[in-house]
């Protein structure tokens, strides 16, 4: 699974001050794109109050192995048999609103970050490994800046 980390939350995650994953999450197989702009479009990152910008040049994503699969709910609107509601770009049909990419979305109530979760930085130059969660702290590659 993966989710894009809002820029203002990257530092709290990496310093261990944010210890949960919550909200809209996606399977990596559905949501791996060429660069930040595609992520922005495909994952509805332009929501109200977002600090992602359409011209973002880099993006941090959190990736983890899904455990407790029943925790991952499809955020259907009442019209679709669920009870989720929210402002657009929320669609309520289980998919993001992108017209360029078809991405199934799941919703996760807060859960502790699983051991082994990883953070990557995605930019036009590629995908860089940033850190791995050991259950208590995020570990960076030795020698990384």
């Amino acid at each position: 699974m993966q989710k894009a980390i809002p820029p203002r939350l990257v530092e709290p995650y990496l310093t261990g001050r944010r210890a949960v994953i919550a909200g809209f999450v996606y399977r990596v197989q559905d949501s791996s794109f060429a660069g930040p702009a595609e992520y922005y479009d495909a994952l509805d990152l332009g929501y109200e109050g977002s600090d992602f910008g359409p011209g973002l040049t880099e993006l941090y994503v959190l990736r983890w192995n899904a455990v407790a699969a029943e925790s991952y709910q499809v955020p259907y609107s009442p019209e679709m048999g669920g009870d989720w509601s929210g402002k657009p770009p929320f669609t309520g049909n289980g998919y993001t609103s992108s017209r360029s990419h078809v991405v199934a979305e799941f919703y996760l109530d807060p859960v502790p970050i699983p051991v082994g979760a990883e953070i990557y930085r995605i930019s036009a130059a590629g995908t860089d490994f940033i850190a791995r969660f050991d259950g208590q702290a995020w570990l960076r590659p030795v020698g990384a800046g």
Partner: protein, 346 residues
């Protein structure tokens, strides 16, 4: 008081984490457990990785409360403030209640402690235990989509229309497979080092949420429930001893000196704990408070232990009180460093 996963191993509860696979559990201890348990030292803690079947219990410790009439989860205890999260699925309602959207569909708030009432710790068996036959999952495959509420087999949602064409629905019901990510598969061995906490005192999200909370004028499209009365401070306050009559029960000078010294030690500890951003709820002196590191005097000396689940864990006994306080402060400070509350100033 913090939302966390717990596991019982050989009768003792430990904070735990699941991973790197859904069959692995890692136990964490702030104090060194007995050597024969085989915990390994790590930065700021001790840890032991086990197969999930080797632990006797696995549960979520979820501090739950009520904020403005609706249930919330307490993500963290910041002392006089609580970091809470909205648990409903109605984004409009969350905003109406005063929550701040910290991430898409994630509504949280840092609020004065007295605004959150009916705080209780819910213990839920970790869901993973109920699905022992889960097929393997990884970063790429994720979970199978669950059935939508009110329908055993919900119709597949209509896929977005692209230029008049309906694309094939994504494979939401495909069988579980494992397909590691190219170049970014989990579990690759790397030499890693701990990321140090920064010296920025407030959490960015916390500061922003506080700003949002203070500045927000609630727009009520419908009347909100009556504001709950502020809760009384859940932390027990020391009860002052009744003053002794002037000519009776006067302590000897030696006992008085001891009491004064004890008060001074406790005061210094409290001041240091405050300076180290250690929440008052993280420790208890002179009493046993579940969920806190406690220091109490016994017939044998001074005990410092972690009170959890009605039991004392990681008990350490000290002959003198100052050593006990020093040890207690060290454990709490280590936790504060780990969580980033305590960081060196540049």
């Amino acid at each position: 008081m913090r939302y966390r996963l717990m596991a019982t191993y050989r009768g003792v509860p430990y904070e735990a984490g699941i991973g790197p696979t859904d069959r692995d559990v890692v136990l964490f201890a702030a104090c060194p457990p007995p050597e024969e348990l085989g915990f390994e030292p790590a930065t700021g803690h001790w840890r032991k990785q086990l197969r999930i079947q080797d632990v006797q219990g696995l549960w979520e410790s979820r501090p739950m409360g009520v904020f403005r009439g609706e249930r919330c989860i307490v993500l963290d205890d910041l002392g006089d403030r609580l970091h809470i999260a909205y648990l409903g699925h109605d984004g409009y309602r969350a905003v109406q209640l005063g929550y701040w959207q910290v991430d898409r569909g994630v509504f949280e708030l840092v609020t004065p402690r007295e605004e959150v009432t009916e705080i209780v710790e819910e213990r839920l068996d970790y869901p993973h235990r109920a699905v022992a036959s889960l097929p393997p999952a990884d970063f790429a495959t994720g979970p199978l989509p669950p059935a939508a509420p009110q329908a055993a087999y919900p119709p597949p949602p209509p896929a977005p229309v692209h230029d008049g064409r309906v694309p094939a629905a994504p494979p939401r019901d495909r069988p579980w497979t494992t397909s590691p990510l190219g170049g970014s598969a989990p579990g690759q061995q790397r030499d890693l080092a701990v990321i140090p906490p920064t010296s920025e005192p407030p959490l960015p999200v916390e500061a922003a949420a506080l700003r949002a909370a203070s500045a927000r004028t609630l727009e009520h499209s419908q009347p909100l429930p009556a504001w709950p009365q502020p809760a009384t401070d859940p932390e027990p306050q020391p009860v002052p001893a009744p003053p002794a009559p002037p000519d009776l029960a006067q302590p000897s000078p030696r006992r008085r000196r001891s009491a004064l010294r004890r008060l001074a030690t406790q005061r210094i500890f409290s001041e240091l704990a405050g300076l180290a951003a250690i929440p008052r709820s993280a420790y208890a002196v002179g009493e046993e408070v579940d969920g806190a590191m406690c220091l109490i005097q016994t017939a044998d000396g001074f005990e410092v232990f972690n009170a959890a689940g009605g039991s004392r864990h990681e008990v350490r006994l000290f002959d003198d009180e100052e050593s006990a306080y020093f040890y207690l402060f060290g454990v709490l400070a280590a936790e504060a460093v780990r969580t980033g509350r305590l960081a060196p100033k540049d």
